[in-house]
């Protein structure tokens, strides 16, 4: 049983290695290896789940010493507890669907083996984050996830946009990890405050922090700082404001990748990190407040951006941002279970949405919703699954999204009404933009030539869609919150609240209806309203100029600074100081040689001058 986490983790890694070594040129073999590897992981995850359901089941923790030095012992350790089992199930399960789907979606690609190698690498890294039992192991995989996401986004590296997007994703994450790593270093330091050997193991850290806080050894400010630094990592991976900019761009990657990485798993890693380090955040209300605030803001902010987006994948990306904001907000408010719960359900329906979008894109070769239309009849499976997922996202009873979202809103309602308002508003916006997408893309008539000739995707793509529909619909009923509750003392637990649920459902319905009215029925608001809306659309379509600000900083501060230093290097260090020394030396030589006038009597005079000096100095 101890082997389970290791097998779950390393099966995809082996698949990746095998593809690199043996299947570089074989599409079927590479696909088989990748899917097989993940299937193994999945089955062991299921096995672990079943084991953990046993009332006497114990948490599995297993580690090997990775670095063992006097003063620093780093372990490579895995932990199989309820959240990690749940997450590995999600990752492997959703991942498996996406892998299979990819066979169809990416079948024509020359670089399919490369693709599957990257995917397996990603699955490996993601599982590593999920299973890690300490910060270093987690950080290792944290970085690997970033790298594999970089590779996958830039899979079509010949497209400048894709290549840029990959780079951007990696860099934004790297900036975030700067804070995260410093947070880890500070935590490591804190762990030794009472004289014990320092550690980074989650369980041990939890105990020590509790003790430290209890003994008052630790200043709250410091703890808040640590919390915020760790949260910094979350900002990057989960694309929270202000580091959200990479996620929409990341849509340049292949759609299954977007589904897997930028919807279901990688971006969830940040949320998962908060959950994993909840022992830390729970001790520091200030940090929690920041987390919640940023989560809430991101939720609303991203949802507003999605309103005017025409690219179907980008809409989904903003929606992801917004939902991640929800989860972060939930965790920030102490809703541990609520956050993870939503994370799980979101993984299902968002993956489904992306795969559906992919199916459409595959058929139409366009991302623009205004070039689609009327797909309900042409692509029924895709459309219906997309609709289910949309409804789940909007939180319509009884789909999974309803339960998880309402759990979050309930927490917010009791902990911070302002955020509840924000959350509810976001729910309305969500419903509106999803409704807009659905109405424009699937209803009505074909808006472009290609949309008229669309065909349903092949079974290898549609079957995963259908399979994903199942958890999207039933995930609300299988007792996930209960499962998560197990062994988790910290956090706020709020029972189901009918009022909150009712309000949010109403708001969602209103949003959907409005969308349908505008985009399905062609309802035109009054001129005045239209003017106001057009005015409001400007900042939205420019995404509040966040990208511009970053670009400006990049060009005018960072690059100017680099150029400045480069000039310093060139003119001061090399020109003045290095070449200067050389030139002075050479110049001295040229001056000295002038003593050599060629006149013999001058030489004699110099000789005597030297001698006189010598005599004067010695005989003084």
């Amino acid at each position: 049983m101890v082997a389970a986490p290791w097998i779950i983790l390393f099966a995809p890694a082996l698949a990746c290695a095998a593809i690199v070594l043996f299947a570089r040129n074989s599409k079927p073999l590479s696909a088989t290896l990748a899917i097989g590897g993940l299937a193994v992981s999945f089955s062991f995850a299921v096995y672990a789940l079943l084991q953990s359901l046993h009332p006497l089941a114990e948490t599995i923790e297993s580690s090997v010493s990775w670095v063992n030095l006097p003063g620093l012992a780093l372990e490579f350790g895995l932990l199989l507890d309820h959240p990690s089992i749940l997450m590995s199930l999600v990752v492997t399960g959703v991942g498996l669907m996406i892998f299979i789907y990819s066979v169809g979606y990416m079948g024509e690609e020359r670089g399919l083996p490369r693709y599957f190698a990257f995917l397996s690498l990603f699955a490996f890294s993601m599982l590593g984050i999920v299973l890690a039992n300490n910060f270093v192991t987690l950080f290792i995989f944290w970085e690997l996830v970033g790298a594999s996401s970089y590779l996958l986004i830039g899979f079509w590296y010949e497209r400048p946009k894709a290549a840029d997007a990959g780079k951007k994703a990696f860099l934004v994450n790297r900036i975030a990890d700067f804070g995260f790593l410093i947070g880890i270093l500070m935590l490591w330091n804190l762990s030794g405050l009472e004289g014990q050997s320092r550690t980074l193991n989650f369980a041990e850290l939890a105990e020590r922090l509790q003790a430290l806080v209890a003994h008052g050894t630790l200043s709250p400010q410091l703890l808040t700082a640590v919390g915020l630094l760790v949260f910094c990592g979350v900002l990057g991976k989960s694309a929270q404001f202000p580091l959200h900019v990479w996620l929409p761009d990341a849509m340049e990657g292949p759609t299954p990748v977007s589904a897997l990485i930028h919807a279901a798993t990688m971006v969830a890693a940040g949320v998962y990190l908060i959950a994993r380090t909840f022992f830390l955040f729970w001790q520091t209300p200030e940090a929690m407040a920041w987390v919640a605030a940023i989560g809430g803001f991101t939720a609303l902010f991203a949802a507003s951006l999605a309103l005017v987006e025409d690219d179907i994948k980008r809409v989904l990306a903003y929606s992801t941002l917004s939902q991640l904001g929800y989860m972060v907000m939930a965790l920030g408010l102490g809703g541990y279970v609520a956050g993870i719960y939503h994370l799980t359900t979101h993984a299902f329906f968002k993956a489904l949405l992306f795969l559906g979008a992919g199916s459409v894109i595959h058929a139409l070769h366009t991302n623009n919703i205004w070039e689609m239309g009327g797909l309900l009849k042409k692509m029924p499976v895709t459309s219906i699954t997309f609709l289910i997922a949309t409804l789940a996202l909007c939180g319509i009873f009884p789909l999974s999204g309803f339960w998880s979202k309402d759990e979050i809103l309930a927490v917010a309602f009791f902990r911070n009404p302002l955020l509840w308002v924000v959350g509810t508003a976001t729910a309305g916006l969500t419903a509106f933009y999803m409704g807009r997408v659905f109405c424009v893309a699937f209803l009505g008539s074909a808006r472009a030539h290609s949309a008229g000739h669309a065909h349903e995707s092949p079974p290898v793509m549609s079957v995963p869609l259908m399979l994903l529909t199942v958890p999207t619909m039933v995930a609300g009923f299988i007792g996930i919150p209960h499962y998560l509750h197990h062994g988790q003392e910290a956090g706020v637990h709020v029972p189901f609240n009918a009022i909150v649920a009712g309000i949010s459902t109403l708001v969602a319905m209103a949003g959907l209806s409005l969308a349908y009215a505008v985009y399905g029925r062609g309802y035109q608001p009054g001129i005045q309203v239209q003017r106001v809306l057009a005015l409001a659309a400007v900042p939205l379509s420019r995404k509040f100029w966040v990208d511009e600000v970053y670009g400006w900083i990049n060009r005018n501060i960072q690059q100017r600074f680099a150029d400045l230093l480069s000039l310093f290097e060139r003119y001061i260090i090399i020109g003045l100081y290095v070449n200067g020394v050389a030139k002075i030396t050479g110049f001295t030589g040229s001056v000295l040689r002038l003593a050599q006038t060629g006149k013999v009597q001058g030489y004699a005079a110099t000789l005597l001058a030297g001698l006189s000096l010598l005599l004067y100095l010695s005989l003084r």
């Binding site: 040689r593 002038l594 050599q596 006038t597 060629g598 006149k599 013999v600 009597q601 004699a604 005079a605 005597l608």
Partner: protein, 103 residues
Amino acid sequence: MTAPITLSHLLALSGLLFSIGLVGVMTRRNILLILLSLEILLSSANLAFVAFSRSLGDLSGQIMVFFVMVVAAAEVTVGLAIALLISRKAGNLNADELRNLKW
């Protein structure tokens, strides 16, 4: 003018001659005359040797003078030979114009 002549007097004379020789070496333009000034140098050293020899009651100083003369003769021979060649080649014996090698 009637004080007895001491070693210091002789050395002072020698020194004066030596200095005159130095000035000659540095200021005469003609190579031949530079050589001539060098002879003053050597001679003044000779005077010092003889003076010391006298005051020490030791003959080795005078032996040295003998050898210095031999050396001076050989030196002058070679010097004049070179001067002759230079004069043939360059047309004059101006020390200042003898500066093809410099810097």
